[in-house]
Subunit: 185 residues, 2 copies
Amino acid sequence: MALEHAILVSLLEKPGSGYELARRFDRSIGYFWAATHQQIYRVLKRMEGDGLIDVREVAQPDRPDKKEYSVAAPGRTALSRWLHEPIEPESVRHELAVKIRGAAFDDPVALIDEVERHRRAHADRLAHYLAGERRDFTGPEAPGTPDAGQELQHVVLRGGIAYERMTLAWLDDVIATLQRLGPER
Amino acid sequence: MALEHAILVSLLEKPGSGYELARRFDRSIGYFWAATHQQIYRVLKRMEGDGLIDVREVAQPDRPDKKEYSVAAPGRTALSRWLHEPIEPESVRHELAVKIRGAAFDDPVALIDEVERHRRAHADRLAHYLAGERRDFTGPEAPGTPDAGQELQHVVLRGGIAYERMTLAWLDDVIATLQRLGPER
DNA sequence: CTTGTCTATGCAACGAGTTGCATAGAAGGA
DNA sequence: TCCTTCTATGCAACTCGTTGCATAGACAAG
């Protein structure tokens, strides 16, 4: 039930509606935990029923009304409990890696286009992260007053940047390997 | 349905029983696509029904009998079709990243132990990968005869190694950040 | 005035993944 | 003899995640 916790963190950072949360899951927190709006609405409803979050109907003049959610006291407690529980180290799910091994039983060269497409997607993501870093984390560091939230968001973003850089280098390695195998057969 | 394809690849690399596949998913291919034995048995049954794989009952004198599966012609076709289809670039799911951002609303220092536990798990995985690389990919390279399967398994393993190295460096960054935040408050 | 886009919320059906439990033969140690 | 471990297979219940579809107000472009 990690989506629940991701929502709690996001709502603590800033209260918002299901729609707004879905937006945030397209950026920011969603880089590390993806979710669709259907999932979010369903979980929000359950969390409200469990008393973890509060709702407030907000009438908007020039848009459809929305329901603004915020974290209730039991939600804060639940998050704190989860933070103190150990979690399993991630088990990766890399579909492309399965494809690469599968290419041994097909045409390795035919995979190159696909890998290059992934390479472009990761290059885009890296550019996007770097733009976000420049925008949000290059202010004049007021010494002695580092905001914990900012610092932690930044270290997570640095993880995303490191991940994309590593992936780009690896995909170059993959492309070179596939090309090397091509002419041989 | 990527599990189906991972199983096809694994069975092409070497036919085997559900139990043996579950073993492989604890090592090797499972590093990039995790699966439990229950999942594997269920999917094998479905794939057999769909004619993608063949079964052969194998009586074993000093062990329980097993069912050995191998890829049938329609299975090879299905795999080939999948290899030529584009897939979505992975969406990461990093629970620890959610926890790190959540730590801003709790005690950042309390997370250090957990992060160090993850660090150890990743260090173990890296050592394991490196041992596998030494074992399987340091033979005397017969020039001009690179086995495509070997080459591709190696490049995927190199990806795993790069991932673990990057993760270790990032977790060090995370620990340093959490420590920096500690005394400040 | 229709079409498309953006905000905003939701249902229904299905498929994928997890957890707990159950069975059973063979081997080895206490 | 009993207990545990390893091989080997499987069911049932449940939760999580995905896909397709539906509604509806506001606004802009054609």
